[in-house]
Structures are given as C-alpha cells and as structure tokens.
Symmetry: C2
Subunit: 197 residues, 2 copies
C-alpha cells in the first residue's frame, strides 16, 4: 500500500518517518474553509479537506493522510501568530495554566473502481504551562521559534523549559498523533509493519 502524507510540515514528516512508515509527500493548494468554531470539529474538517484534495488525484490503492492542529485556550482557537505582538499575546494567554491541543487526522484510501474509504479521528492533549514573565516571553519570541507554530510555541524546542507536564500523546502536540495513527492503520487498513521495515 502506497502512503501519501498530505502535509508540508517538516515536523509531521519527521514523526511519520520516526515510527518506520514509508511514504511520499504531496501537498494540495486547496483553499481551507471551515464553519465550526469547535476545535475538534475544525481540525477534523480541515484534515478531511487536505486529505481529500490529494486523494482526488491519487492512484488506486493509495492511502492519503491529512492532518491539522490547533491550540485551544479559554474557548479561543489559536492558529499561527500573525506577527511577534500576536505571539506575545498568545504566550501571555497560555502562561501559568493548562490548555488543549487538537490534531485531526483523516485517512482516505482510494480503492479499485474509484471508491474511497474515509476515516477521520481527533486526538486531544492537555498541556500545562508554568508562569512566564514578560521578559521570558520577549526572550522566547526573539528566538523566532513561536512564529510558525499554532499557539506560538513548539513543545519540542526551547519552550520545554516552561512545560511542566501534559496529558495525552506528546506527538499530537508536535503535530501528528503517531501512537493513535499507527493503531488505526493496523486496525482499519491492515497495515503490516513487516512490509515496511
């Protein structure tokens, strides 16, 4: 089974490689559109759109993986910050409390005869931040690390010094819940690791 990751994110690519799955990358330029403001619905829907756009032009027998991640705090969905001031605002919001990170994943398998088998799931991870001073926030934003990340932080970098704990899949916060994803591939798509190692 040929697998395509429908994402330009280098972090998702690394995670999928890390667990030993062979895949290609193909990114669509689909215009993302979503009505809901419920985080789990938003990421499900956006992951579906990303996977569907690539699957539409994929060969039969191909499995396409689409994913989308957002941070949710106090009922507000945080995507990537638009500038440094926006990054500082997001970090002030996250400082000294817990928030949730949602990743939606959609698997689309193009079967013979053009039929599609579509499966979507969502993982949620709770993340606990220590309090950050204004100086610490300024210092972290100056590293530029926050600027290309949902919620203005990367759990896998410098910011780990402010994260006291999580509940859920760590890799879900990085951008792809590979624990759940591998189990779903095994159960629903009869993925066999021996063929890929």
């Amino acid at each position: 089974m040929k697998i395509i990751l429908a994402s330009a994110s280098p972090r998702r690519r690394e995670l999928l490689s890390q667990i030993g799955i062979k895949f290609e990358i193909q990114v669509s330029d689909v215009e993302e559109h979503v009505e809901s403001d419920c985080p789990s619905e938003v990421v499900r829907e956006l992951s579906r759109q990303k996977a569907a756009a690539v699957a539409a032009v994929a060969e039969e027998g191909t499995l396409v993986i689409g994913a989308d991640t957002v941070v949710s705090c106090d009922g507000e969905i945080l995507g990537k910050p638009v500038d440094e001031e926006d990054a500082r605002r997001m970090l002030r919001l996250l400082s000294g409390r817990s928030h949730e990170v949602y990743t939606g994943v959609t698997l689309v398998c193009r079967q013979e005869g053009g039929q599609e088998k579509v499966h979507t799931f969502c993982e949620c991870t709770q993340v606990n931040f220590a309090p950050m001073t204004e100086e610490e926030i300024a210092c972290y934003v100056a590293t530029k690390d926050p600027l290309d990340k949902a919620g203005a932080y990367g759990i896998q970098g410098f910011c780990a010094r402010y994260i006291t704990g999580i509940c859920g899949d760590y890799n879900n916060v990085v951008g792809l819940p590979v624990g759940r994803l591998y189990q779903e591939l095994k159960e629903k798509y009869r993925y066999e690791e021996s063929s890929d190692l």
Copy 2:
C-alpha cells in the same frame, strides 16, 4: 554560575542544551549503591550519588546536576535490559497497559568556603502502551533501540507508534524533566536566563 551535568547520557545532554542552558559535562566513576526498592527513593539516591561525586572535586560557585531514571511496572523496577531476551521480557510486561517512569534529579551547589547547597527532587510520568504482538516486540528489539534504555524502550524513537499517551513531563521519560528542572533553577538558585542566551 558554572553548570556541570554529571551524566554521560547523550539524551540528557540534548535536553539541557535544548532549553538553552550552557553547561559542561563531567562524569564520575562512582560505584552506585542503593538499598531501597522504592522507585522514587532509588532515583533520588542515585542522582545524589552521581552529583555528589562530581561536586566533591568541583570549583566553588559551580552547580552540579545529577540524574537517574528508572521504569517501574507492577512493583518491578526495570533498568537497562541485560540482553535481547531480557528486552523482550520487559516489553511483554509493558504491552497493553500503563507504567511509571521516575527520574530523580539532584542539584549540588559548591559555595564559597566549601559549603554545599543540595536539593533533590523526583518527577513521575505515567506512560500508556498499546498492546504489542510477539512479532512487533521481536521486530522492535531487532532495531537494537531497546538495549541501552531503561525499560527497554525509547519514547522518542520508533517505539512512539506503541505509546498512546502519557501523563506528566515527556522529557522526564527521555531522561531529564527539564520543565521542573528549569523552574527549580530559577526559584532555588536564582538562575537568570538572560545570562545564558
């Protein structure tokens, strides 16, 4: 303040670098000895022994960090496996359930006049494993990844496909709870990041 990491682990070194702390490495050849079979006590005591041995020969004004990590499951403490069969046994034990990972950390500050300020803490993280088949266990052990790791797995590698979630600090499972460590350095040793960035 000069900081010394009293550990040969490349994973601990990477984590401490990742959060922006500058340090040197110095490892003692102290013979580790512990009486307790309580995991939190074992790692506290071993981290103390590692830090103390290096601090004993350190300059005044130096802060030494020692750490020790064990996996605990069903009342059994799992260190590094002695061979491949032992690694398979440990993975069978961890399969399809949750266990705990304990890291003890000791900070020893050599002050003027030869006095020492010693602070020890322990972090515990719960890790949930998906069920692994005998074939999956054999396949993972064949990668050699389990052989140098407490509990016979590395959360940061291939094995992430079997880890469905955790509760606590992820980096604690890798070998050093840098979230808690940074907060302790700030509170107890007035560590200032501006001096290190």
